[in-house]
């Protein structure tokens, strides 16, 4: 690299560089790594010591004989080097005279859809690689679809390995014609095709002499002028999800966040959602002195003119052009985990700085990413993409993903493993959640409860099969009735044979079983009853789901704690013996897990207390809560 003569002038120029992020899609076979290696090499990102290491590596692992194998520059982990594949998203950096570039390098293998979606989520541009000898493949279509799905508006079709087809124009034209009809079919408007050779550098950073018939820009020239996504965001109405409340002392209360769209300046009228209070921006505070204003993409701290309630998860927006709030949506979901989607289970949903519990319905359909056909589906597996309805446990502030990626894109997190299991893009809120207010009842749940002279509650008994849940619950109900309480006991016998007759014992069915029981229990508490339920309910997530359905303090988790060995020893119904013999599948404790409560309201150790004593203890505890 040569140092510019006037370093100060050069640095000033550098300060005004823009930042463009792009993703490259294709497999190693398409010459992707070679192309990226070439970009890094030509823009002087590779140093002598790295080049020396590369030459040594090329001889050992390379696929180019005595030539330098640029692909080895970008295949990072040693595991991959041995397998000769790229297994994850890697980020590379280089710069032209005009822009700094961040490249997300993602693999083309089908099983890695999630990696491409990950890399594409932050990209302005997608560069699709098409081998000139092979033409547009299924994989090309898949990558185009995924790029469009995550909202990339500009596509580049880089027709690679032109050197291997003797720089023949007809090979290039054939790819272009093929791709054009596909692009029209799925509605990709802005795309350009460029014939390149990564190996020899043709049309990568400068026009190729070998292809005089091509008059378009070289790849880097094109990347220098593609419009940036960020410029479009700045034109939209103001939205800032609140990340953190900055309150060092009595005199300062600032709201810190990154502007998702639009601009803000002191005096601007804002609304704080979902609550809806209106205020004015007082200051845009910064360590370098107050700012006159700020735009999309900046991380700022603002203060408001009024003492309004505002915390992490709220969104500060343009008072005159606010987004919507809702709790039911239609969205596209990309499933990213080995464990498939469990419809009805509660997942954490993170959208902007809001984190809520969300349940996903069985998909309306799954998309075959190769044929783009819609298929019927009950669930989504790893790399599955589908459209489904989602319900959240409270209103969230959102916009459609097409309008605003920051308020329309979300991730789903498994509540047990804390893994990121899916990402999604909101299409719209369902009408029923936006417009219809719940039926107002003149006879309220308080009325029902007062009439019965009691505080409603759900005593949720959980524990292994044979732990003693039903026995104790029955005793508790008898004691409560003796004290004039209005109660109802829900257990496997009266639910499994009626309401939940259609459900089996798979994980998904067990979740649905508990969800229905939870809903019924909730309706009964609305009617003022004290409800007792006796279900194994092995999954923590589902018990938490029911807890969330009920008003604070009305869900009382009773953990009937009996060790597996003890329950198995009692085995009153002979079920453990059957499960051990393999005659019963998905039996809790044997081949299906039981997740013990972490902080139950009541814990009963059945090796210490008789059923009578346990029931007394529970009634006593309930009395305390009246």
């Amino acid at each position: 690299m040569n140092a510019p003569a006037d370093i100060r002038a050069w640095l000033v120029e550098q300060e005004h560089k823009e930042l463009l992020r792009f993703i490259t899609c294709g497999s190693v076979d398409d010459g992707k790594s070679t192309l990226i290696g070439r970009l890094l090499y030509e823009t002087k990102q590779i140093f002598d010591d790295q080049l020396a290491a590369l030459e040594a590596d090329s001889k050992r692992h390379g696929t180019q004989g005595q030539k330098i194998d640029y692909a080895l520059l970008v295949d990072g982990l040693s595991a991959e080097r041995e397998q000769g594949i790229t297994i994850d998203v890697a980020y590379r950096f280089f710069a032209s005279e005009k822009r700094k570039f961040i490249v997300a390098d993602t693999p083309g293998h089908e099983q890695y859809t999630r990696n491409m979606v990950t890399g594409a989520s932050t990209a302005d541009v997608a560069v699709l690689l098409v081998d000139a000898r092979k033409g547009v493949l299924t994989q090309t279509r898949r990558h185009s679809y995924l790029a469009k799905l995550v909202g990339i508006r500009h596509l580049v079709v880089a027709v690679t390995k032109m050197d291997l087809v003797d720089y023949d124009q007809s090979a290039f034209d054939a790819v272009v014609a093929d791709y054009r009809s596909f692009a029209e079919q799925i509605g990709i408007g802005d795309w350009i095709a460029i014939p390149v050779s990564g190996l020899n550098g043709d049309n990568v950073v400068r026009a190729s002499e070998a292809m005089p018939w091509y008059s378009g820009p070289a790849l880097l020239d094109h990347l220098d002028v593609v419009p940036l996504e960020a410029s479009a965001d700045a034109e939209k109405p103001f939205r800032m999800p609140v990340q953190w409340v900055n309150r060092p002392n009595q005199n300062f209360r600032g709201f810190a966040g990154r502007i998702a769209s639009g601009a803000v300046s002191p005096g601007a009228e804002v609304r704080i959602l979902p609550f809806g209070r209106v205020s004015r921006v007082d200051r845009v505070a910064s360590a370098d002195g107050d700012l006159d204003g700020a735009v999309a993409g900046q991380s700022i701290t603002i203060t408001l003119a009024d003492e309004v309630d505002c915390s992490r998860g709220d969104v500060i927006v343009d008072a005159h052009d606010p987004p919507q709030s809702a709790d039911q949506f239609e969205a596209t979901i990309v499933w990213m985990a080995e464990d498939e989607l469990l419809p009805g289970r509660g997942y954490w949903m993170k959208l902007g700085t809001q984190t809520v519990t969300a349940t996903v319905q069985a998909p309306k359909y799954e998309v075959n990413v190769n044929t783009l056909e819609h298929l019927a589906a009950q669930t989504l597996g790893l790399n599955g993409i589908g459209v489904a309805e989602i319900a959240t446990d409270r209103d969230i502030v959102f916009e459609s993903y097409d309008d605003n990626k920051a308020l329309g894109g979300f991730i789903l997190i498994d509540k047990l493993t804390n893994a990121t299991v899916a990402c999604g893009m909101i299409h719209f809120a369902l009408r029923r959640s936006l417009n219809i207010h719940r039926q107002h009842l003149d006879v309220s749940r308080e009325t029902h409860a007062q009439l019965k002279g009691q505080r409603p509650a759900v005593l949720w008994f959980t524990g292994l099969s044979g732990a003693g849940k039903s026995t104790i619950a029955n005793l508790v109900e008898k004691k409560l009735v003796a004290r004039g309480r209005h109660t109802f006991l829900l257990d496997g016998d009266n639910v499994r044979h009626g309401l939940n007759r259609d459900l089996g014992f798979t994980e998904a069915d067990r979740i649905e079983n508990i969800r229905r029981v939870g809903e019924v229990a909730r309706l009964m508490t609305d009617a003022g009853l004290i409800v007792l339920t006796a279900f194994i309910s092995p999954f923590r997530a589902e018990r938490e789901m029911v807890r969330k359905m009920l008003p604070e303090g009305e869900f009382i988790e009773v953990f009937v704690d009996t060790a597996l060995e003890e329950a198995e020893r009692r085995d009153e119904k002979g079920l453990y013996a059957k499960a051990r013999a393999g005659e019963l599948q998905n039996f809790t404790g044997i081949d299906s897990p039981y997740e013990a409560p972490e902080a139950p309201e009541i814990r009963i150790d059945t090796t210490q207390l008789t059923a009578e004593q346990a029931a007394d203890a529970i009634v006593e505890e309930l009395d305390k809560r009246r």
Partner: protein, 300 residues
């Protein structure tokens, strides 16, 4: 309307990452290694939480073998209002007198890798900011911004969480801790440009000066104090040198240089033909895969 430059965007992204961590982690800490990347990270943190003091302490995992200039800057930073600095030294390394002359790679392993693990466990920090950048090294290029470590502080590259948009999943399982890299998307040039733009104070060793040096195994080492052992035939020579990266002085290679300002450094860097980590003895242990291996063992 204000047009954001690439430095503005990098700054905003780093601040966003730090705020997410502070909002969601139980007990965050910032690893402070006194180098230029740490200096940039600290500067960004001050901006992120202004006017509040830093909502987390700084942690220096000391090896007792840093340059004297580094300790001087560290102590100056620690004296600033609103800064809490914790210095941690692995007691076993201290009692056994582990040093870079007698113990080879064990020196880095015990003082840095083990020392860091011990410090994080001792104070129960669940999220630690580090100044690593993806452009430094190949395995870093694949690491997430929020990088999870199991209870033994090991990194599993195959079990990384996907990171979409700027939505970071900060939820951790019991025993897990998080390394957070707010400078992931910065390059060495970005760091220098930012230091220049923001007038950030850095250790003077980054600038060229006449310094007492010896040449050993291709590295130019600085004789920073009387503990430096000279081999037979080695003589201390005064040379005008500077450092591109800083660590333990007996392990940090200097380069001949005339650069006395940040502008000079950038000019030299643009003309340079070797990468930044080249002056570090640590990467040479096991060939190309050495950093990846170290990280799986719990190195930052």
């Amino acid at each position: 309307m204000k047009q954001l430059t690439h430095l503005d965007r990098l700054e905003a992204e780093s601040i966003h990452i730090m705020r997410e961590t502070v909002a969601e982690a139980d007990k965050p800490v910032m690893l402070y290694s006194i180098g230029k990347d740490s200096a940039v990270m600290l500067h960004l943190a001050k901006k992120a939480f202004y006017p509040a003091p830093l909502p987390f302490p700084l942690l220096h995992v000391d090896t007792t073998w840093k340059f004297r200039d580094m300790y001087a800057l560290r102590d100056k930073v620690a004296a600033e209002p609103g800064i809490q600095l914790i210095v941690y030294k692995n007691p076993e390394a201290e009692s056994r007198g582990i040093n870079p002359f007698d113990h080879g790679s064990l020196h880095t392993d015990m003082w840095k890798t083990e020392g860091l693990k011990q410090a994080l466990d001792k104070y129960a920090f669940d999220a630690a900011f580090g100044g690593a950048r993806r452009d430094e090294e190949k395995s870093r290029a694949k690491e997430r911004i929020f990088s999870f470590r199991d209870r033994n502080h090991r990194w599993d590259p195959k079990r990384q969480r996907p990171e979409l948009w700027s939505l970071y999943n900060v939820r951790k399982n019991r025993g897990e801790s998080i390394r957070v890299f707010p400078l992931s998307n910065w390059t060495e040039l970005d760091v220098w440009q930012y230091i220049l733009r923001e007038k950030i104070e850095i250790v003077p060793l980054y600038f060229a000066a006449e310094r007492p040096t010896v040449e050993r195994e291709g590295l130019v080492l600085m004789v920073d104090d009387e503990r430096m052992r000279l081999n037979d035939g080695e003589a201390v020579v005064s040379r005008k040198v500077r450092f591109r990266t800083l660590g333990c002085y007996p392990l940090s290679g200097a380069i001949d240089s005339e650069a006395v300002t940040v502008e000079d450094i950038v000019a030299e860097m643009l003309a340079s033909t070797t990468s930044e980590r080249q002056g570090r003895a640590i990467d040479r242990d096991a060939g190309a895969a050495s950093m990846e291996k170290k990280k799986q063992e719990g190195y930052f």
